[in-house]
């Protein structure tokens, strides 16, 4: 688990705007170096070192803007899943569109118990998303198990299982006559 965040983390905190960053919009590798630049500068390097990982956040994660680079840059850094107490509407959709499952804690106390650096496993996430039940997160470091849920529509689950909106549409449009 690479980064533990508080409530109401905004898309500007996930990926800042401004003169330095905005000109890089079309350059995903370059812009991803600014991910969480004002929260934790070390995140991109740590994500590379670990080959990706997870983010844990509190309520209303991704509030603020519709900036979808706040989903694209973490995807590029190998963020596989975001675990939060709740998500802001547009960012939750953006995460799904770029293939990152936004999962919600069924017990908010579990979120508080996780610490940055804990080793987490999601052994059956694909099957759980397909089956529609809760999703198991195993905290190997603490020897605990958490149950996650989501607030996604059946269509969004289909998008996630396809790997995101682009891959979903590729498949759908190829099947058209």
């Amino acid at each position: 688990m690479l980064l533990k965040l508080a409530d109401n983390v905004s898309t500007d905190e996930i990926l800042p705007g401004g003169n330095e960053v905005l000109p890089l919009r079309s350059n995903i590798p370059a812009i991803s170096e600014y991910t969480f630049a004002y929260v934790d500068k070390t995140l991109p390097a740590r994500a590379r070192e670990k080959g990706g990982g997870f983010i844990v956040a509190g309520e209303n994660y991704g509030q603020g803007s519709s900036r979808e680079h706040a989903a694209i840059a973490p995807m590029y850094l190998g963020i596989k899943v975001v675990l939060a107490k709740s998500f802001a509407r547009i960012h939750e959709s953006n995460l799904v569109n770029f293939g990152i499952p936004p999962l919600r804690f069924t017990d908010p106390a579990d979120c508080d118990a996780i610490q940055q650096g804990d080793r987490l496993e999601l052994p059956e996430i694909r099957a759980a998303l397909e089956a529609g039940g809760s999703i198991l997160v195993r905290n190997v470091t603490k020897g605990r198990e958490y149950r996650m849920t989501h607030a996604l529509s059946p269509r969004q689950v289909t998008l996630l299982l396809a790997g995101g909106l682009t891959l979903f549409l590729q498949r759908k449009w190829r099947q058209l006559p």
Binding site: G18, V21, R89, I90, N97, R155, L169
Partner: protein, 313 residues
């Protein structure tokens, strides 16, 4: 971008045309229509009685390609605005008061519908300020009815034919009802670093500032800029103060505002006029010391590191 817009039959708004939300209000928005935009403040068009929803760029591109747009059915909350503003209180204080009461997650999966007798006195630009920052509540959208104020606005834009009347049904029922009495409001400001960190201006009055940034997609109509111009009339910006201005409605009234007000006001000292979305999007003016900005948000990395936000004139 221009070539791509031409290729796909889209209208390309050239640089210098003003902030997109203002360009939409003045040139394109039509009461009763829907709008999907790749900007979270797309809901500004609610001022024109449009259900306007912000989404990610991929989502908008896919909708333009003919795929449906999906949104979770929101609750509808009525915000009943009554009575009139006291002096120095304006539309931004309405939305700051809502943010103070509901916080940045108080509008999640909700549409805020603004109703009430005060609407008779609220111009489309004032409604736009309120709808724009309805996004800061986390709301799916916000909207006003289309009434005689809307008709007069469209008439002034040469688009009266686009006007239709539209409002809530007499027996409309809401998931929640909120009332704000405008006469009881006082000037409000949001302190760093969240738009719901709202306090009365009197609590921070007198704080020295290093930067003043006027104008953004939320608050830069002719009236907004003229108020600042009148405050500055006959004075100069202090040499140690950095001041910028980002007019919202350049094509229609911006040049007049500059001619009539700003040349008498901060003139060259106010920095270059920035016709983008405001200091928030077009630059990051990081200065040491507090910054006073009439922007919808000042988040770390977005504008300045220590900002005083969202004071509106």
């Amino acid at each position: 971008m221009a070539a791509m817009a031409t290729k796909h039959g889209a209208i390309f708004s050239r640089p210098g045309n003003g902030i997109s939300h203002f360009a939409h209000l003045e040139r394109f928005d039509v009461p009763g229509e829907t709008m999907l935009g790749a900007d979270s403040h797309t809901c500004t068009a609610g001022a024109m009685a449009m259900l306007a929803i912000g989404a990610g760029g991929a989502e908008v591109a896919v909708a333009m390609a003919g795929e449906p747009f999906y949104v979770k059915m929101p609750e509808v909350v009525s915000v009943n605005l009554v009575d009139r503003f006291p002096p120095w209180v304006s539309a931004k204080d309405v939305i700051l008061e809502l943010l103070r009461r509901l916080t940045v997650k108080g509008g999640v999966n909700r549409v805020m519908e603004y109703v009430g007798p005060a609407l008779e006195h609220l111009s489309v630009y004032e409604r736009a300020t309120i709808c724009n920052m309805t996004q800061e509540l986390g709301a799916t959208s916000g909207l006003f009815p289309s009434d005689d104020m809307t008709r007069r606005f469209l008439w002034a834009q040469g688009r009266e034919k686009d006007w239709t009347t539209l409002g809530p049904d007499a027996d409309a029922r809401y998931d929640e009802e909120i009332t704000i009495n405008l006469s009881t409001l006082e000037p409000l400001v949001a302190k760093p670093h969240s738009p719901d960190n709202v306090v009365p201006v009197r609590e921070v009055a007198g704080t020295p500032v290093r930067q003043v940034a006027v104008g953004s997609s939320v608050n830069s109509s002719y009236r907004d800029l003229m108020v600042v111009a009148q405050v500055l009339k006959g004075k100069h910006v202090a040499p140690n103060l950095h001041m910028t201005m980002s007019p919202g409605e350049v094509p229609v009234k911006g040049p007049h505002a500059v001619a009539a007000g700003w040349r008498r006001g901060p003139h060259a000292d106010a920095g270059s006029a920035r016709y983008l979305k405001g200091p928030y999007a077009s630059q990051r003016d990081v200065h040491d010391g507090p910054s006073l900005q009439d922007i919808h948000k000042d988040l770390p990395g977005a504008t300045s590191r220590r900002g005083w936000r969202e004071r509106c004139f």
